[in-house]
């Protein structure tokens, strides 16, 4: 017994010495002095992943430390986002999140679940891209303009169907915001991801889809799909002839699929400043620009107060959207 106690005391002492010796070193080390991990809460090959990789490469050049992309997937992103929310706020664990970061806690609230994380657990670092969704239908459909579509939807409530990446997913929210703004009711068919949702539209199983432009551009160019309108503040550069819902008189139908860089709340201000600076230089990097060009995703850079403002407005819009949809009960 005494021997055990002695051993424990010795271990405690050893631990104390190690900590005491280690602590000042940690406090004094300039940021960053070791590799940084950038958590992507989605699998490789998705929008978030394809944005994160060039970001990581470009930031590595500025920070002079390796930036590794870690795909931590599960529960539509909640697993990865939660892991960053509870990680040490030292600037060595960052998050590349999409718009869904604002939707998940709201949906949790709706069902009375303890939220996996909340938005205010994060300090926004920089916005990398913000692509408005666009409304697409099959080329052979009778709707030539967004006006045709909305008028027809008014005549036939709950008859026109659309696919989405999943319930409360980004593509669902975009359509809901439009439905609300235009006072129409559409029939929602959720799919497990954006890929299957697009496949369903092309196969004629649904009538419409709200999608990020980059995914549907090749199908539009090949004459398979037609773009009717966009959810953006401005027209999409690659589709200059397609109007925005704002122009058409539905200013509430504003929605972006955005990708932003976050750190856990409580990260020291000097570290955040350094990260913002690194992100600013990174997005100007020609290699980064060419990578984003290939993905047909324009860079929309915002940081600091500007990003915070965008983030807050977007989160508010989405929270509102989720509440309007409410709980989908058995119909």
């Amino acid at each position: 017994m005494t021997r055990l106690r002695l051993l424990l005391a010795f271990l405690a002492l050893a631990a104390f010495i190690v900590l005491a010796a280690g602590y000042p070193a940690v406090a004094q080390e300039p940021y960053p002095s070791r590799p940084i991990s950038l958590v992507v809460p989605f699998p490789p090959g998705g929008v978030a992943d394809l944005t994160a990789r060039p970001v990581a490469v470009a930031m590595e050049k500025v920070l002079k430390q390796p930036v590794g992309v870690v795909n931590k997937t599960g529960a539509a992103g909640a697993v990865g986002i939660q892991s960053v929310a509870t990680s040490k706020p030292d600037g060595y664990t960052l998050l590349l999140a999409l718009s869904s970061i604002s939707i998940i806690p709201e949906a949790d609230k709706l069902f009375g679940r303890p939220p996996a994380f909340t938005v205010d657990q994060f300090a926004p670092v920089a916005l990398i891209s913000a692509d408005p969704t666009i409304l697409v239908v099959r080329a052979e459909s009778s709707w030539k303009t967004a006006k045709d579509f909305i008028e027809d939807a008014k005549k036939r409530p709950n008859q026109i169907s659309y696919s989405s990446s999943g319930i409360y997913g980004t593509l669902h929210m975009a359509m809901e915001l439009l439905s609300h703004a235009a006072g129409i009711k559409l029939r929602h068919v959720p799919y497990a991801g954006g890929g299957p949702a697009l496949t369903a539209l092309l196969g004629g199983h649904v009538d419409a889809l709200a999608s990020g432009p980059s995914v549907v551009l090749p199908q539009i160019k090949a004459g398979k799909l037609r773009a009717l309108a966009g959810w953006g503040d401005k027209r999409v550069a690659a589709l200059p002839e397609v109007p925005t819902f704002k122009e058409l008189g539905y200013p509430e139908a504003e929605f972006y699929i955005w990708a932003g860089l976050f750190a856990p709340k409580g990260t020291p201000e000097p570290v955040l400043a350094k990260l913002r600076e690194a992100a600013r230089v990174a997005v100007a990097d020609p290699e980064f620009k060419s990578a984003m060009d290939k993905l047909e995703t324009p860079i929309t850079f915002k940081q600091g107060a500007e990003f915070q403002k965008f983030f807050d407005a977007d989160a508010h819009r989405l929270a509102e959207g989720v509440r309007k949809v409410g709980r989908v009960e058995q119909k």
């Binding site: 090959g45 990789r53 529960a75």
Partner: protein, 509 residues
């Protein structure tokens, strides 16, 4: 035709360039490894290697990723046959008869049949891909939720064929599997079902942890629990090759598996997994000795293994012809193309003929490489069986745990596998088959989603399932199967009544 041959010749001039050959080889080797490792399947393998392809050219990247995909189908059979651990989800069926063959000392034959079946299916389906891609792609897209539901329902009927033992026990296990498949986010309403606050359970129980637990870990526990340790099998070199009889029994299943796998593979979704189930059921139905299934029927290895290989080429049909991300794996491969500035779409074949034909040609080459890689390996792999169980079993458990963890980097998955292992052990002690649980758990979420999507499409009208030609036909086939079975069951029912007194009499003797 002449034009196709000309294009193909051009494709070979791309595929036989040293760099392309090298990346095809690397892809095939990685694919084989990914397939051999329990748990880690082609999706995980491709995802992990995707970033490494960013520095390559588009052709090299896609050739390598495709190599991983079909290479994994070759490798997947290895652990299924030798240790009853499915290397990836599409090899679940191989565990049943492949492992039974290994127990009878025919491991080498099973591995060889699997490799050769995979080669024939791989090559045959690439030919189909080359000749039929554009017309078939549009047909594939007509498979919407109602058609998928009908197809899955057919898959569910397969469950009834699964067991040689008690039908009631087999169905009970299938229902247990369906129930396990209910765990996770309800895709239609966003509810978390049976997740008890564990965020990771939101995605449901993965196929991999369930299959590895119920097959691999349970097998180790069951064998370790025997009072008399099983004899270590010493495979002889002469026994490595399939006998003439085994060849004869494999030819037709390989042919049928190839056609079936390709047709099911082109359907958007995770159809390649179902292809092996359906092939198994078809072989059992057509076999002259259905009672051998489950006890080492060579057709039960040849059919599904050919089908899952053929399905990989099928999956490329909508992807290449239309640029449609028709499943999780094609989606990652399309992303790989986008990174290189190749916008995948309906114009891909026209705009990038070098890439398309180079890709096709590389698949011919890749399948040859895999055959050359896998056949000699049979001799090496069967030596695993010589390892004493006291060393082999701890290593199997370790590989299972590592493999399951590696898929999502999730400890929750490891726990699921271990719990499933314990459950599988208990069920086996009680004389239940565990394969129907795995099938049920795989099919449940897919069936549910397809059913509810269909009803969302039709605003609750069940007529959607019969008013659409493909769905209606599939359902009619299913109904016919059930009726046929009912008839034979009733006929046997009379026999059974006649037999009973005799049996009782016999027992009294």
């Amino acid at each position: 035709m002449a034009e196709t041959l000309q294009s193909l010749a051009r494709g070979f001039s791309v595929a036989l360039q040293p760099a392309v050959l090298l990346y095809a080889f690397v892809g095939c080797v990685v694919g084989t490894l990914v397939g051999v490792l329990p748990g880690v399947g082609p999706l995980a393998g491709i995802s992990l290697l995707l970033p490494a392809t960013f520095g390559l050219t588009a052709t090299n990247a896609i050739v390598m990723l495709a190599g991983i995909y079909y290479g994994a189908m070759y490798g997947g059979s290895t652990t299924s046959i030798l240790m009853r651990i499915p290397g990836e989800a599409a090899s679940v069926m191989t565990c049943i008869d492949g492992y039974a063959m290994a127990r009878k000392g025919r491991a080498g034959a099973a591995l060889a049949i699997a490799a050769i079946g995979s080669f024939i299916a791989g090559t045959g389906s690439v030919m189909a891909l080359m000749l039929l891609a554009p017309p078939l792609a549009n047909f594939a897209l007509r498979f919407g939720p109602p058609e998928y539901f009908a197809l899955l329902l057919l898959g569910l009927l397969v469950l009834a064929y699964m067991s040689g033992g008690s039908m009631v026990k087999s169905l009970a296990m299938a229902v247990l599997g369906l129930l396990l498949g209910m765990i996770g986010i309800d895709q239609m309403s966003g509810f978390f079902r049976f997740s008890y606050g564990v965020v990771e359970l939101g995605d449901g129980l993965g196929v991999v942890p369930i299959a590895v637990g119920l097959f691999g870990i349970a097998e180790v526990l069951a064998t370790a629990g025997q009072e008399v340790p099983p004899k270590v099998l010493k495979p002889k070199l002469r026994e490595l090759l399939p006998s003439r009889q085994e060849w004869r029994e494999s030819v037709m299943p390989i042919g049928r598996g190839t056609v079936l796998g390709f047709l099911i593979g082109i359907i958007p979704g995770s159809a390649h997994i179902i292809s092996s189930f359906v092939s198994y059921a078809v072989e059992r139905r057509l076999s002259r000795h259905p009672e051998e299934f489950g006890h080492g029927a060579v057709a039960g290895v040849a059919g599904p293994e050919s089908a899952n290989n053929s399905a990989t080429s099928g999956a490329f049909v909508p992807m290449l012809a239309l640029g449609v991300p028709s499943g999780p794996i094609p989606a990652v491969m399309l992303a790989a193309l986008m990174v290189h500035g190749v916008s995948p779409g309906p114009l891909l074949i026209k705009q990038q003929p070098e890439l398309f034909w180079g890709f096709i040609a590389s698949m011919y080459v890749g399948n040859l490489m895999l055959l050359a890689l896998n056949l000699p390996m049979v001799g090496i792999f069967v030596n695993v069986l010589r390892v004493p169980y006291s060393l082999l079993y701890p290593s199997i458990i370790m590989f299972c745990v590592v493999g399951v963890y590696a898929v999502n980097g999730s400890v929750v998955d490891v726990w699921i596998a271990l719990i499933m292992g314990a459950l599988g052990y208990i069920l086996r002690k009680l004389g239940f088959e565990t394969a129907p649980i795995v099938l049920g758990a795989i099919l449940a979420p897919m069936i549910e989603l397809a059913l509810r999507q269909s009803l969302a499409m039709s605003d609750g009208q069940y007529a959607i399932f019969v008013s659409r030609p493909i769905a209606g036909t599939l359902l009619a086939v299913g109904a016919a199967l059930v009726l046929l079975n009912l008839v034979s069951w009733m006929v046997r029912g009379f026999d059974w009544r006649k037999r009973i007194p005799l049996d009782e009499h016999g027992e009294n003797l």
